[in-house]
Symmetry: C2
Subunit: 296 residues, 2 copies
C-alpha cells in the first residue's frame, strides 16, 4: 500500500515528476516527499508550488532516505542520474523510472547498479503526457485511467515491483507488464514515430517560405495533428536517440507505405487510395472505442 512506503524521492519535477508529486499528495500520501531539481534556482518554486517537502539540486540529498526513488529526468540524463542514485540510495530502496524507451534504460541500469540494486530497479513508463514541460506543467490527474508499462525481468525483486505498483495504483493508473523490447516497439510506433512525423511536417511547411501565411489558413485539424510538434525538442531528440532501432524500423515501414500512397495519388489509382484511407479510418475509429472503454 502507498501508506507503507517510507519516503518517496522524485528526481526531476517536470511534467511527469511534478504530476506524480501532485498525484501522491492528492492520494493522501502522508510520508516524506523529496524532490531533486536540475539547479538550485528551481527549488524555491517547487516548494512554493507545494510539490515536495524538501527540494535539492544534489540528487544524493534528495534520495538518501527514501524507500522509493522515482527517476523522471529527461532520458539523455538517465545513466549519470542512476549512477548517483547507486552511490547514495538506502540499501533497501526501490528505484523506478518513467522513461519513454526501456531497453536503453535497462542497459544503463545494468552498467551502473550492482546486483542487489539492479534487482530492486523496476523500469517503468507511464503512457501519458502533454506537449507542456517544466515545474508548472504537471497536474494530479495526469495518470488517471492511463496505462503504465513496467518491464521487470525474472531477477527483479517482487517486493520492489509491488512497491512501484502501489504508487501507480494510487495515481489511478492501469498497470501492464511486458519486455523492454516489446515496449520499445509499441512506443516507437504509437508515440516516437508520430513525433518525428509531426516535427518534420511543421519544419517542411516553415521552410516553404510563407510560414506565417500558411499558418494563417490552417484549421483545427492541423492544430491537432501538429500539437505534438510543440513538445520539448531536446527531450524528443533524446527519446528518439535512445530508441533508435525500433524508431528506424517503424519509420522505414511508414516511408514504404507512403511511397505506395504517393504512387496511388500520382497514378490516379482512386480505389487503392480509398482502401488505404478506409482501412485507416476503421482502425482509428476502433482505437477511439478502445480508449473510451479504458476511460470508463
Amino acid at each position: 500500500m502507498l501508506s507503507d512506503i517510507d519516503g518517496i524521492a522524485i528526481v526531476g519535477l517536470g511534467l511527469i515528476g511534478g504530476s506524480i508529486a501532485r498525484g501522491l499528495r492528492a492520494a493522501g500520501y502522508a510520508g516524506r516527499l523529496s524532490g531533486a531539481v536540475a539547479s538550485n534556482a528551481d527549488a524555491p518554486r517547487a516548494l512554493e508550488l507545494g510539490l515536495v517537502d524538501d527540494c535539492h539540486a544534489e540528487i544524493a540529498e534528495a534520495v538518501s532516505e527514501a524507500e522509493l526513488i522515482v527517476v523522471a529526468t529527461p532520458p539523455g540524463m538517465i545513466e549519470p542520474v542512476l549512477a548517483q542514485i547507486a552511490a547514495s540510495r538506502r540499501a533497501d530502496a526501490t528505484v523506478t523510472d518513467t522513461g519513454s524507451s526501456k531497453a536503453s534504460v535497462v542497459a544503463a541500469a545494468a552498467r551502473v547498479f550492482d546486483t542487489p540494486a539492479y534487482k530492486r530497479f523496476v523500469p517503468g513508463h507511464p503512457i501519458a503526457g502533454t506537449e507542456n514541460s517544466g515545474l508548472e506543467a504537471g497536474f494530479a490527474t495526469l495518470f488517471q485511467a492511463r496505462r503504465v508499462i513496467l518491464t521487470p525481468d525474472a531477477a527483479t525483486d517482487a517486493a520492489a515491483v509491488a512497491c512501484v505498483e502501489a504508487m501507480w495504483r494510487a495515481l489511478g493508473a492501469q498497470i501492464a507488464r511486458m519486455s523492454p523490447a516489446h515496449h520499445d516497439e509499441i512506443l516507437a510506433a504509437t508515440s516516437h514515430l508520430p513525433h518525428v512525423l509531426a516535427y518534420t511536417l511543421v519544419d517542411t511547411l516553415a521552410a516553404m517560405g510563407e510560414r506565417i501565411e500558411i499558418f494563417e489558413y490552417a484549421a483545427g485539424g492541423f492544430a491537432d495533428f501538429t500539437r505534438i510538434a510543440s513538445s520539448d525538442a531536446a527531450l524528443w531528440r533524446d527519446i528518439v536517440t535512445a530508441n533508435r532501432e525500433p524508431v528506424l524500423a517503424t519509420l522505414d515501414a511508414y516511408m514504404a507505405r507512403l511511397q505506395d500512397v504517393r504512387a496511388a495519388i500520382a497514378n490516379g489509382d482512386d480505389d487503392r487510395l480509398y482502401r488505404v484511407f478506409e482501412r485507416a479510418k476503421t482502425a482509428r475509429d476502433g482505437f477511439v472505442s478502445v480508449r473510451e472503454r479504458n476511460e470508463r
Copy 2:
C-alpha cells in the same frame, strides 16, 4: 446584407452544408432555406432537424427559386451538380461552393456554366471542419472566427461576391481572397498533406499485425495526431485527387525532409535532429499564437 437575399438553397446538408443551414437560422435569416440531399431517404430527417424549410432529392427542385445557391456536396460530385444548377437556376442567382480545392472547381464551372452563369459563380472554401460527417454532424458555430477563402477572378460579378460575403459574415467567418492556385498550394500543405500522412500512419500501424495491442498503449498525443484519419475516406480521396499536383509537390518536399531526418537518426546526428525539432516547435508555437489571436 443577409436579409436582402431572396431565398438560399444549400446543395448537400452534411457537416458543411448542415452547419451553414444551422448558422443561417442562428443568425436570424428569415428568407426561405431550401435543401438538396443525396436521396429521398434523407429528406425527413433534414426537416426533422429543422435544417431547411423544404428538402429535395432533385437539385432542380431545391435551387430553382433561390437567389443564392451554396454547393456543399463531396468534391467528386461537383461537376454534375454544377451542371444541374446551370440548367435550373434563376437567371440572377449567385452560386458559390465550399470545396477544399479550387482550381479543379473553377475548371468544372468553366465547362458547365455559360458566361453569365460563370460570372455569378464565386468559388469559396471555409477553412473549418471536424472529422465527423452526415446530417447530424453540423453545428451553427462551426465558422465562427474561421477563415473563408474566396477565389473570384476579374470577370466575377461584384454583386455576386458581395452576396456570398454577406452570407459568410453572418456566419461569423473572416473573409480572404486569393487565386485558386494559391489557395490550392496552401491547403495542400496545411490540410491535404496532413490527412494523407495521418491515414498512412494509422494504416501502417494497423498492418503491423498487433493493431489492438498497439492502440491499447497509445496516448493522447496519438489520439490528436490521428484524429483526421477518422475523416470520411471517400471525401478525402476525392479532395486529394482534385488537388493532385499541389498535394504531390508538398508530399515530395515532405518526403525529402523525412529522408534527411531519417539519416540524422541513423547516423546519430543529434545536433541536426535537435535543430529540426526545435525549428518545428518554434513554428508550431507561433501558429498557436496566430490562431489564438484570430479567435480573439
